[in-house]
Amino acid sequence: MTGANGANGAGGTDPIRASAAELLDERDEELLRLLRECHEELDPMPDSVVQRSLFALAVEDIDAEVLRLVEQYRPVDAGVRGGEGEEARVVTFDSDSLTIMIRISQQAETVRIDGWLAPPQACRVELRSGERTLDAAVDDEGRFVLDAIPRGLAQLVVRLGEALGGGGGTSILTPAIVL
């Protein structure tokens, strides 16, 4: 296909016009629509994609580095109501400048995070959860603990070069995860 049919009416040599001539006809549109429906049916985007993205984007730091989730270890049955204590899930995030590993353990009604960041440095971490923002100091060895975290979506924000309660400094964000 892809002929010049259609280009002739619109000033043939111009590459933009020529490209315009390759616009789809109705049959193509129909095929693409059917194809879209196929994919939607076979592989629908879960609502959580948008939910989690919107949650994560509600962060205030615009100029932050983004940590990506690189590894996740889940206990065999990651059921929400499983036995306590044993249910630790370990998640590792990574960016060009920082790695964070967190161990998530379920408690009665809440969740506890034991975290470690590398390279180790004293700074501050915040945890945005639905209702409130918790924060904790990171010690010289890169360790931190966040406790009594409500279940649900949460996002970590690391503020480098910042002591607890201070301001300024670079921020690094994780995507939102479900605790």
């Binding site: 616009l23 789809l24 592989d43 990506r68």
Partner: protein, 235 residues
């Protein structure tokens, strides 16, 4: 099979296509073939442009609307790259977060879509390679190999009227399947930019899309009732 995951180790910072792209889109619209769809597409483009403008000035509500609008395309991009559902979700979220930093430099809906797709692809690719290193032989391998036949369970899920199309699509080369999958979730004026973001040479986009569609039509209608010039050798 070497599909588009050929090493693109330094896929550039999703480069924002320039003014030319915007001009292009305008011309494409004015040279429209069928009015209604074109108008809808133009309306959408205008809406997206307004949202972008507003998001860039700091309105998070507008950014949220953009997320709702464009996430489905990114889902298809991530999945077409062979990511599992969970990984696709993580990648898309990271793409949106990264956008916060770059919003300032993105001036048109075209540039926005291209940036997002490129970022998603790059992350998907990175995740892919990380996975490969861990598990030398896994489903990634399978995802790269086109299976010419639809899986029975796919057909069960699909409505009758989709069966022919799906059977035909599954016979296309992997690259065509990927391209058409993304294109099907995009909108017309974005095509060229999209294809650039898909890692194809700018000049080959239209023709490739055309060839993929032509091939698809031939498969669906071998006798070529009225369709001409569709014999074309597909790569």
């Amino acid at each position: 099979m070497p599909n588009s995951t050929v090493p693109e180790p330094t896929l550039p910072e999703p480069a924002a296509p320039d003014e030319a792209a915007a001009v292009h889109s305008a011309s494409v619209e004015s040279a429209s073939v069928d009015g209604a769809a074109e108008t809808a597409s133009a309306d959408r483009n205008t809406r997206l442009a307004a949202l972008l403008e507003s998001a860039r000035s700091g309105r998070r509500e507008s950014l949220n609307e953009i997320v709702i609008e464009l996430s489905p395309v990114l889902w298809q991009v991530a999945r077409a790259q062979g990511l599992d559902r969970e990984a696709a979700e993580d990648v898309i979220q990271c793409t949106w977060l990264s956008l916060l930093r770059h919003l300032e430099q993105i001036h048109s809906p075209l540039a926005l879509t291209a940036w997002l797709i490129t970022a998603t692809k790059r992350e998907a690719w990175r995740m892919h390679t990380a996975h490969r290193a861990e598990q030398p032989l896994d489903q990634n391998q399978i995802a790269d190999t086109a299976d010419p036949r639809p899986l029975p369970e796919e057909l069960v899920l699909l409505a009758e009227r989709h069966h022919d199309v799906w059977r035909a699509v599954r016979q296309l080369p992997q690259r065509c399947q990927e391209l058409l999958r993304v294109v099907a979730f995009s909108h017309r004026p974005d095509y060229d930019t999209l294809a650039v973001a898909l890692g194809m040479p700018r000049g080959s986009i239209g023709p490739t899309r055309g060839r993929c569609l032509a091939k698809l039509r031939t498969l669906l209608d071998p006798d070529g009732s009225g369709i001409t010039g569709t014999s074309g050798g597909l790569a």
